[in-house]
Assembly symmetry: C2
Homo-oligomer: 351 residues x 2
């Protein structure tokens, strides 16, 4: 699906700015009834009738958020869309439209941008969103992608970060840490390749990790699943910066504390084994790794029976009163305070 | 109003990404009834009831769209908002919300970003739009600003590019060419300053030109004015790339031709005199200069009496059948074909 077809090269200046936009977006035909006018006017026009509108925006910058040494452009386009849709799903909304703006240096041939847009188009097809606009401009260095996503929801369905109550259960979709460890594997292979360009890496055992890093999927399925289960979360957030940081956001916005249990944190076996290989604490990776694009939400304890045993959902802890603080309860039953850690401030836990 | 208060310097890394967003947006409190949730969740939530939603997005890149040698950051923030609001007004909509994302290198102290956001805040206050979200990230070089604007309109009020009819009048707001000539003056002063840092430029006679370049205003007033006059344009576009290019857009979308009359193109006296000084054809500047953020629209001839004599509006020509082509009729009554010219492809006219 994600083949590389970069054969011939056309210089960007051959097309010019208008030609480039037309060229890159010629296959983007709107599908949704709510898209009245997409690309081709001063602005797009949408008709959401009496639903509420949800808006989210994210920037991805070369050298900061991605490294083209191992990130194929088609994957990058796909991921740029996912990062934004994930925020719409974290509001319990339905993503409907996106705008995509890129700033790109002349070192990229037109075919590279076609790859990027092929990934954007694939994502918009699979996730049923229309690409309704954007801007394409030159940059003095590197590639930058700015995506704004729009979505809709009935007013009563929208879930904010601030609605959790003490004793609510903390529930997580999927598993954590794989995207971050996928990045570690790719970074290591890049160093190996630099040292020996003829080395043939065997990455089979890392497939899941690398896929989670290069081609994450936003949890479009969770909103409808919860609707089927007749559960409305009391608060929700997506995991872009690591579990720890997201729990802290929910606690602060809801003015609560939380306990999460180390033994409950869902990890894929591939994450456990690669963490052993890299000699990193897998719990720390789950807490601080980020880029998993899973959803973290709280539900009333009364709803526990409705979600119990669902393979997509794991209860990892519960909310407490604010003065109890935010803690990880370890397998050894120690209570460690949760700390928001940035991407680069990883340390080994001392316990 | 636009004073420079860059005194102390705080390194960006001292605040960190979350601290920076909180810091820069702490004064942005939403004012509009349609803004249900602004900054502080995964996404913003808006309630447009049964109005249609208008969405526009633009990227501004340092070294491509602006030069910080003469563009104060507060003006840049203001202008970044204007560029986007102009697109909403060009749909005959009311701008309501914006998202602002910036990528910025560490060479900028926090105080520089505060200046940038002060300009954004001033624009949002004057134009009555809420800042509802955004993203702040580091860049490997330079500054990049991505703004997405949302607006609303009743379905029947929205004006597209493709609704013009043959014989409709072409109407322009304000005057043209000043923003481009302001840029020429600033570029010249930059060279003078490089050659002699002690030179004291006297820019008084260029005030209007420089203001049009550094602090453009979007035509928020035109929609309500036309409503008062009971005129609904048949097509509309904003002047971001120069009159010639915008007329060509209207013609192509509406499948028509057009004649515009050189003697009708509104020019400020300051533009005429600076064009003489620079020995540039002022008509060429109006046609190709860009960044004026005026509105160009078409109206039925039946509506002529309603707009006649209005100081904001000038009839510059009329639409024709497509096969008649797109022409400038010169003062000497020559018919020259209109050509879309880019910012850098200015040539002296041979006539």
């Amino acid at each position: 699906m994600f083949e590389n077809s970069q054969e011939s090269k056309t210089n960007l200046s051959e097309l010019g700015e208008f030609g480039l936009i037309d060229h890159l977006t010629k296959n983007f035909s709107p599908k949704l009834e709510s898209t009245i006018k997409a690309i081709g006017d001063d602005a797009a026009v949408l008709n959401f009738e009496n639903k509420q509108t949800i808006v989210s925006t994210d920037l991805l910058v070369e050298g900061v958020h991605f490294d083209l040494a191992y990130m194929p452009l088609k994957h990058l386009g796909y991921k740029a869309v996912m990062v934004n849709l994930s925020d719409i799903y974290a509001m319990n909304g339905t993503a409907t439209q996106i705008t995509v703006s890129i700033a790109v240096s002349n070192r990229f041939p037109v075919q590279a941008l076609e790859e990027l847009y092929a990934g954007i188009q694939l994502a918009s097809k699979i996730y049923n969103v229309d690409v309704i606009g954007g801007d394409t401009t030159s940059s003095t260095s590197g590639l930058m992608i700015s995506v704004t996503a729009l979505g809709i929801a009935e007013k009563e369905d929208i879930v904010y970060r601030d609605g959790a109550k003490a004793n609510d259960l903390l529930v997580l979709t999927g598993d954590l840490g794989a995207a971050y460890m996928g990045l570690q594997v790719l970074e290591r292979e890049k160093e190996v390749f630099k040292a020996n360009p003829n080395s043939q890496p065997d990455l089979d055992q890392y497939t899941y990790l690398i896929e989670r890093q290069l081609k994450p999927e936003a949890r479009k399925d969770i909103g409808p699943l919860l609707k089927d289960l007749e559960v409305k979360p009391t608060s929700m957030i997506d995991i872009s910066d690591g579990l720890s940081s997201e729990i802290i956001h929910l606690c602060k916005k809801s003015k609560l504390g939380a306990n999460i249990f180390e033994e409950k944190i869902p990890l894929d076996p591939a994450v456990i084994s690669v963490c052993e290989e890299f000699e990193i604490d897998s719990t720390m990776i789950a807490l601080s790794g980020g880029e998993d694009y899973e959803l973290l939400f709280t539900i009333s304890q009364d709803d526990y029976d409705k979600i119990k045993g669902n393979p997509h959902l794991t209860v990892i802890g519960h909310m407490t009163e604010e003065n109890e603080g935010m803690h990880l309860v370890t397998r050894a039953n120690q209570k460690l305070p949760l700390i928001a850690r940035g991407w680069n401030s990883m340390e080994n836990r001392e316990d």
